[in-house]
C-alpha cells in the first residue's frame, strides 16, 4: 500500500458484515482494507496514508473505544466512523468526545454510510494534505541553520532587527541577511506569510503560551 492510496479500514468481528461493507465500498470506488479485530488492524494497517476507519464498537479483545484511545495516544489523526449493532448513549458520547467522525448504528442506510465515508475520506485527505504541507514546511524550517532559526523565531514574534542583533550580538545588517535567507528557505514572500507559517507550525504558540 503506497502512502498516497486512500483506504477505508473496516474493523469488525462479523465476517458477513465485513464482506458486505467491502462489496458496497468497493462498488462505490473505495479501496477497502478488512480487519477482523483492532489488534489485527494495528498490526497490519499503514496509517500514514489518508483513509478512515469504519470501526465496530464492541469486539472481542480491544474494543472500538479502546482502539480510538490508542490511536489518539499515537497521534494518528485518522477519522473514525463508529458503527455498532446496538449503540448506548454513554459510549456514543465518549466516542464523539474523543473526536469520532460520527456514530452509526447497524443496519446503516447505504446513502448515509457512503456519504459519511466520503466526508471522512475528504477530511482525511485534507488533513493529509495539511499534514503534508506542514511536513514540507517543517522540513524547510529544519533546513534553517541554528542562528537562522533563532532569528526566525524572533522575527515572527515581531522583534525588531536591532533588537535581534543585540540579542544575537551581531550587526543589524547580519540579521537582515539572515532574514533574507530565511524568507528564501521558507519560501515566504512577506513577513505576514512568515508569521502565518510559524503559526501553522505551532511555533508561536509553543514558544509563547500567552
Amino acid at each position: 500500500m503506497t502512502p498516497d492510496t486512500c483506504c477505508v479500514h473496516v474493523i469488525d468481528d462479523d465476517v458477513s458484515w465485513r464482506r458486505s461493507v467491502d462489496r458496497l465500498l468497493a462498488a462505490a470506488g473505495y479501496r477497502v482494507a478488512l480487519h477482523e479485530s483492532a489488534e489485527a488492524f494495528l498490526a497490519t494497517a499503514e496509517l500514514d496514508a489518508p483513509g478512515c476507519i469504519l470501526l465496530d464498537m464492541r469486539m472481542p479483545g480491544l474494543t472500538g473505544l479502546q482502539l480510538q484511545q490508542h490511536l489518539l495516544e499515537r497521534r494518528q489523526p485518522i477519522p473514525i466512523v463508529f458503527i455498532s449493532g446496538h449503540g448506548d448513549i454513554p459510549s456514543t458520547v465518549l466516542a464523539m468526545k474523543s473526536g469520532a467522525e460520527t456514530f452509526l448504528t447497524k443496519p446503516v442506510d447505504t446513502d448515509v454510510l457512503l456519504k459519511t465515508i466520503e466526508q471522512a475520506m475528504l477530511r482525511s485527505r485534507e488533513e493529509h494534505d495539511r499534514r503534508g504541507q506542514l511536513d514540507a514546511l517543517r522540513s524547510r524550517v529544519d533546513s534553517l541553520t541554528p542562528t537562522e532559526r533563532k532569528v526566525f523565531a524572533m522575527v515572527v514574534r515581531g522583534t525588531l532587527n536591532k533588537r535581534i542583533a543585540v540579542e544575537l550580538g551581531t550587526a543589524e545588517r547580519t540579521v537582515k541577511w539572515h532574514r533574507q535567507h530565511i524568507m528564501q528557505k521558507l519560501q515566504a514572500g512577506s513577513l505576514a506569510e512568515l508569521v502565518s507559517l510559524a503559526e501553522r507550525l505551532g511555533l508561536v504558540a509553543d514558544r509563547d503560551p500567552s
Partner: protein, 637 residues
C-alpha cells in the same frame, strides 16, 4: 379283659386249636341281641293297632305319596300312641277284573289275618270298592276311610255305614270357566283323556261341564288316543285354544303311566295353555285350574282315622268334603302372556319366583348399602382426584407462567445482545443490497458479483431468522416439547444467546460438552432456560473481578449410568456461605435488585425431569452449579 381271665400259656394253646369255634361264638354273642329284638318286634306286631292303606294304582304316584305322608304325619301328631301303617297297591288299572280283585282280597286277607287292622284307608274309587268288598275278610267290620274319591263316583256307590271319608269334587266346570275367563278369545276347547275306566268318568264330568259353558265354545274330545297321536294333535293347536286334561293312567295303546306323567307330556307338547284337574299336576306344565289340594284331603282323612282309632263310632263322623280352589302356575301365566288381573281373587299362585328383594332382602340391602358406599367413595375419590388434577394443572400452569416470565426477564436482560445479533445480518443485508444497486448501475452491470451478493443476502437472512427463532423459542408460551435432547445443542444455543452479553461484560465463555454423551430426556427450551439463568448469574457474579480473569465454563459429563451432569462454573467470588444452603429457595439472592427466582425456577425445572441441582463454592474461587438430567434411554427405570 377276656385275655386276663386266662393264663397266657393256655390261651395260646387253646387259640391255636379252637380259633374257628371262638369266632363263631363271638359272632353269636354279637348278633344275638339284634336277632332277638327283630324277632320281638315282629312278634309284637299282630297285637299292635294297624292302619291299612289301599291304593288303587300300581305304585306310589305323587298323589299316593301325599296321602301316605299326610296320613302318617297326622297319626304321629294326633294319636299319641304308635300305630302300624301298612300300604298296598292294587294296580287296578292293569288288573281291573273282579277275579283279580278277589285274588288280591284273598291275598290281603291272608297277609293281614293275624294283624290288628283297625282302619282301612281306601285311596281312590277302585280301592274303595275293593275295601268295601273285602274288608271283612281282612278284619271283620273294620271301618273304611276313603280319600280322593270323587263325589260323583261316591254317590254312585252303595256305601256301608262304616265307610266315611273326605270326598273330593272333581267337577271341571269351575276350571273351564276360569280357563275361558283367562283366555277370553278362546272358542275352542280340547279335552285330552285316556283310555281307562277312570277316563270315561272324566269324559262324563267334562261333558256335563261343557254344557254349562257359553254356547259359542265348541269342545273336542281327544279320548283314548295313543300318546304319540295325542301329542301330535296337541302340537298343532292354535294358541287361543283351551286344553283341559285330568291326566290318565292308560293311553289308547295300553301304555300305563301316572296322570302326572301324562300331563307333563301333554303340557310339553301343547301349543295352547293346558288346564288340569288335580293339584298334583301343578308344576307339570299346566296353567292351573280349580283343584282340591291332595294334602288337605289326606289330612282330613287322617283326622277321621284318628277319631276311629280313638273309638268314635263311624256313624258319628260326618263325611268331609274339601272344596276345590283356584290354583295357577305363575310361570305358565307368564309363558302364555295371560293377564294376571283376570285371575280369581283367592287364586293360589304357585311358582311365583319371589323377587330377589323378597328372597334376599337382607343380603340385598347390605349389598346395596355397600354398593352405595362404594360408589359414594369412588365418586368422592374421583372428585378428589379431579380436584387434585385441577390443582396440579393449576400449579403447573402457574409454574409454567412463572417460568415463562423468568425467560422473558432473562431475555429482556439480553436485549442488547439480541439487537446486536439481529442487526449484524440485517446490516450486512442492507450493505449487500446497496452494493448490488451500485453494481447493477455500473456499465456494464457486474451481474456475477450481484449473484454472489444475493447468495450472501440469503445467508444473512437465514442467520437473522435463526436468531429470531432462537428468541421466539425462549419466549414462547406453548406446551413443553419433552423429547430426546442433545445437551451439546442446548449448550451451544445458550452460548449463542449469551455470547454478546458475555462479551459486553468481559466474560469469556467456554462450552465443554463431553463427547459421545447420550441424549437426555427434557425440553430444549427449559434446559436452555436453566443454563441461561445459571450463566447470567455467573456473569453478573464476576463483574467485580478483573476482566482477564472472568471465565464462564459450561460443561457436561456422564454422571452415572442413568444421568448426565451439567455444570456451570464461574470465576467469581463464590456463593456466600450464609445463603449457600438456601440458594435455590425463591427470593434468596445475593444480587442487589434480584428477585432470586432464577435458581428456584431452574431447580424446579430440573427436578421435574427427576434431576437434582446443587451449588458449591469452588476451592479455586468462584461458584459451580451442577444439575443432572436423565438419559433418554434410562427414563423408564
Amino acid at each position: 379283659m377276656w385275655q386276663l381271665r386266662h393264663p397266657p400259656a393256655r390261651q395260646l394253646a387253646v387259640k391255636s386249636k379252637t380259633s374257628l369255634g371262638l369266632a363263631v361264638a363271638i359272632a353269636a354273642i354279637t348278633l344275638a341281641p339284634a336277632l332277638f329284638v327283630a324277632a320281638g318286634y315282629a312278634a309284637d306286631l299282630p297285637s299292635r293297632e294297624g292302619v291299612l292303606i289301599i291304593h288303587s294304582n300300581a305304585r306310589p304316584t305323587p298323589a299316593a305319596v301325599i296321602v301316605e305322608d299326610a296320613m302318617r304325619q297326622v297319626l304321629a301328631n294326633s294319636l299319641g300312641r304308635p300305630v302300624e301303617i301298612y300300604s298296598e297297591y292294587l294296580d287296578a288299572e292293569r288288573f281291573p277284573t273282579p277275579g283279580n280283585a278277589a285274588t288280591a282280597g284273598e291275598y290281603l286277607a291272608r297277609k293281614y289275618g293275624d294283624r290288628n287292622i283297625r282302619v282301612i284307608v281306601a285311596s281312590a274309587a277302585q280301592a274303595l270298592q275293593f275295601a268295601i268288598a273285602f274288608r271283612d275278610r281282612i278284619s271283620a267290620s273294620v271301618p273304611v276311610v276313603h280319600v280322593g274319591v270323587p263325589k260323583d263316583q261316591l254317590e254312585a256307590m252303595t256305601l256301608l255305614p262304616t265307610v266315611v271319608g273326605a270326598t273330593v269334587d272333581l267337577d271341571p266346570t269351575a276350571t273351564l270357566r276360569m280357563a275361558s275367563r283367562l283366555q277370553p278369545d278362546a272358542k275352542h276347547l280340547v279335552i285330552a283323556l285316556g283310555a281307562a275306566e277312570r277316563d270315561r268318568a272324566w269324559g262324563d264330568r267334562v261333558r256335563s261341564a261343557v254344557k254349562r259353558l257359553p254356547a259359542d265354545i265348541n269342545a273336542d274330545y281327544l279320548a283314548g288316543l295313543r300318546t304319540e297321536d295325542l301329542l301330535q294333535r296337541l302340537r298343532a293347536l292354535p294358541k287361543n285354544t283351551i286344553v283341559f286334561t285330568p291326566g290318565y293312567f292308560v293311553d289308547g295303546a295300553g301304555q300305563v303311566g301316572s296322570p302326572r306323567q301324562s300331563v307333563e307330556l301333554i303340557a310339553a307338547a301343547s301349543t295352547a295353555p293346558v288346564y288340569g284337574a288335580l293339584d298334583t299336576f301343578m308344576g307339570a306344565g299346566v296353567v292351573g285350574g280349580y283343584m282340591t289340594p291332595y294334602v288337605e284331603q289326606a289330612t282330613r282323612a287322617g283326622g277321621i282315622v284318628v277319631k276311629l282309632l280313638n273309638g268314635t263310632p263311624p256313624s258319628e263322623i260326618a263325611p268331609s268334603s274339601v272344596d276345590a280352589r283356584p290354583m295357577v302356575d305363575w310361570r305358565q301365566i307368564q309363558r302364555w302372556g295371560i293377564d294376571d288381573r283376570l285371575l280369581p281373587p283367592d287364586t293360589i299362585v304357585q311358582f311365583r319366583e319371589p323377587s330377589l328383594w323378597a328372597r334376599y332382602w337382607q343380603a340385598v340391602s347390605i349389598a346395596l348399602a355397600i354398593l352405595v358406599l362404594q360408589a359414594g367413595s369412588i365418586v368422592w375419590l374421583l372428585a378428589e382426584r379431579r380436584r387434585r388434577r385441577l390443582a396440579e394443572a393449576d400449579s403447573q400452569k402457574r409454574f409454567s407462567e412463572m417460568a415463562h416470565m423468568n425467560r422473558r426477564v432473562a431475555m429482556g436482560g439480553l436485549t442488547a445482545s439480541i439487537a446486536h445479533e439481529l442487526n449484524q445480518p440485517l446490516g450486512a443485508i442492507h450493505n449487500n443490497a446497496g452494493a448490488a444497486q451500485l453494481l447493477i448501475k455500473a456499465d456494464p452491470p457486474r451481474l456475477d458479483e450481484v449473484a454472489e451478493i444475493l447468495e450472501d443476502i440469503k445467508h444473512d437472512d437465514k442467520r437473522a431468522s435463526e436468531v429470531l427463532a432462537r428468541i421466539r423459542r425462549m419466549l414462547r408460551k406453548t406446551d413443553l416439547e419433552v423429547g430426546a435432547l442433545d445437551l451439546s445443542d442446548a449448550m451451544g444455543e445458550t452460548q449463542k444467546l449469551l455470547a454478546y452479553d458475555a462479551q459486553t461484560h468481559g466474560v469469556s465463555v467456554k462450552v465443554e460438552p463431553e463427547a459421545g454423551l447420550p441424549k437426555v430426556w427434557a425440553d430444549s427450551v427449559q434446559v436452555q432456560q436453566v443454563l441461561l439463568n445459571l450463566s447470567l448469574n455467573s456473569i453478573e457474579a464476576m463483574q467485580g473481578q478483573p476482566p482477564e480473569t472472568r471465565q464462564l465454563t459450561i460443561r457436561s459429563r456422564q454422571s452415572n449410568a442413568k444421568e448426565a451432569e451439567v455444570s456451570v462454573i464461574d470465576s467469581g467470588t463464590g456463593i456466600p456461605d450464609e445463603i449457600l444452603p438456601n440458594v435455590f429457595d425463591p427470593f434468596v439472592t445475593s444480587k442487589v435488585g434480584g428477585m432470586g427466582l432464577g435458581l428456584s425456577i431452574s431447580r424446579t425445572i430440573v427436578e421435574a425431569y427427576g434431576g437434582r441441582m446443587r451449588a458449591e463454592s469452588m476451592p479455586t474461587g468462584g461458584a459451580a452449579v451442577h444439575f443432572t438430567l436423565p438419559f433418554e434411554a434410562g427414563r423408564h427405570p
